[in-house]
Symmetry: C2
């Protein structure tokens, strides 16, 4: 992973081509690193900035007003770095804040994870029966239910908040009997044995870490849809349409901001990235 | 539970006797309600205010600087209500912030949960071998290890962060195989079969909810010490020494403040209190 300080570039007054400007990726903590990773793999030449608001994580159990306020503070900070696109890599934040962000930053490309995830699930479903698992706030806000309903009005959607999968992923307990029992306990409420979903949408960025366990529990016939991959495809499409794909052949730079407990961010983040985080590329910032 | 607005009393300019002033109890979320409950049962005539900082919970994975800042903001708010005593009913906050609070509020009685918990464990141990389970921040800060060392320098202390027990308690999964497997996985690192602790100190306010499971796993010979009960005794002792015990024969009032998601605070808080929270007694406030 190469690193580069956009802040240093800005200080030096270096002028970036529009297409060379970074993509800002925001999440409440480390979960959005699954989206970061998908974007990084699909668009290796893009310069990427990631901001994880670890001082106020988790957003998933907070009120919509609070989530909106926190997300807008983080988005405003990312725009200081001259980004060409903002990706809200957090289901909870997307659900509460996306329309507000689009109107607040009219000149910026803004993508969330809900629409691409919902579209991918609608494309994947065979019988129009979709199960959605996410955090409490995402399920309560009904964002996936509504997005699927707009794309595929006849779809049947069952949704279940799987709160404990988030701390399990952060603890690194992503396989073994405990993870399996927890996942089973939640899934048993949407897979009851009668007219079960044919597609399971992972509506929380932490959940791709449990993909193997979830597939084992649902059986191979159920299609598991990961919004991280769907979001990366949408990012590429939006940049291409706006003629903002970075044409440079050099590998893009990666820089991480965290709002608290840098050591924990790096240690936990490694699970999600699937590789060690570069020490020099991780900076502690204050959003408050 | 009777309710009473101290704010209303202050607005009306009502003058309270010193001993009638409320006790302010602070926690990062709902965990401190186990301490609140213990104080409420031991001192039923005291007026109690509880503040749970649910907008920024959990503290247990945050840096010491951030924990200190958040705790001082909450303590300052509680002093607005003319409290006679401040109880930091949160191990993480006590560990990071107690000395700072004592110097910032020199005229206030201030108690944390670490010293009483450590003293109770030292009184309970037969062979001086104490296991401590708590959150990451409490274990990392070594507060219990140091407090036990001051009281019983020859004690052997083994400590283990049991991160997942916190969300498990809040999800209400306090018995059954998942809670048991999670607890077992953590305990197996301090109960290895050779020279095991004779006493287990519950160094997190959430953990008393797992007392039965923990006792089953350790076996009946291990003494389980709950800092909530020890803290309530200390509160009574400190108030008595300062001649500030409320002499009124009427049941004390109870009022709760939460900084976010009032509904969730009430629902989850009910698990910890062991009774429903009175709707009129719970108010949303903003600390930021």
């Amino acid at each position: 992973m190469s690193n580069y300080s956009f802040e240093a570039a800005l200080r030096k007054g270096q002028v970036l081509q529009n297409s060379e400007k970074p993509i800002g990726i925001f999440d409440s903590g480390v979960g959005g690193l699954t989206v970061f990773k998908a974007i990084s793999e699909l668009l290796p030449n893009e310069n990427l900035l990631y901001l994880g608001d670890t001082a106020r994580v988790p957003y998933g159990t907070r009120s919509r007003e609070t989530i909106r306020k926190y997300t807008e503070m983080a988005a405003a900070r990312l725009t200081d770095y001259n980004i060409k696109m903002l990706v809200i890599a957090c289901n909870t934040a997307t659900s509460a804040s996306l329309p507000g962000l689009e109107s607040r930053f009219p000149d910026l490309l803004v993508a969330g994870v809900i629409e691409p995830g919902a579209a991918a699930a609608c494309a994947a479903t065979s019988r129009g029966h979709i199960g959605v698992i996410a955090t409490e706030a995402t399920i309560r806000g009904q964002a996936y239910q509504k997005a699927i309903g707009r794309i595929l009005p006849k779809a049947t959607v069952v949704a279940k908040a799987c709160t404990l999968l988030v701390p399990l992923a952060e603890e690194g307990w992503i396989d073994g009997p405990i993870a399996e029992n927890v996942a089973q306990k939640y899934l048993s409420e949407i897979f009851t044995g009668a007219d079960d979903p044919d597609t399971l949408l992972l509506g929380c960025t932490h959940f791709p870490l449990f993909r193997n366990i979830l597939q084992k529990l649902t059986g191979p016939a159920v299609r598991i849809v990961d919004s991280a991959l769907a979001t990366a495809s949408l990012v590429r499409e939006m940049l291409a349409q706006a003629c903002l794909l970075n044409q440079s052949a050099a590998p893009g730079s990666r820089q991480f901001f965290t709002t608290d407990n840098r050591e924990r961010f790096m240690a936990t983040g490694g699970h999600f990235l699937g590789e060690l985080m570069p020490d020099a590329g991780v900076r502690l910032i204050n959003l408050q």
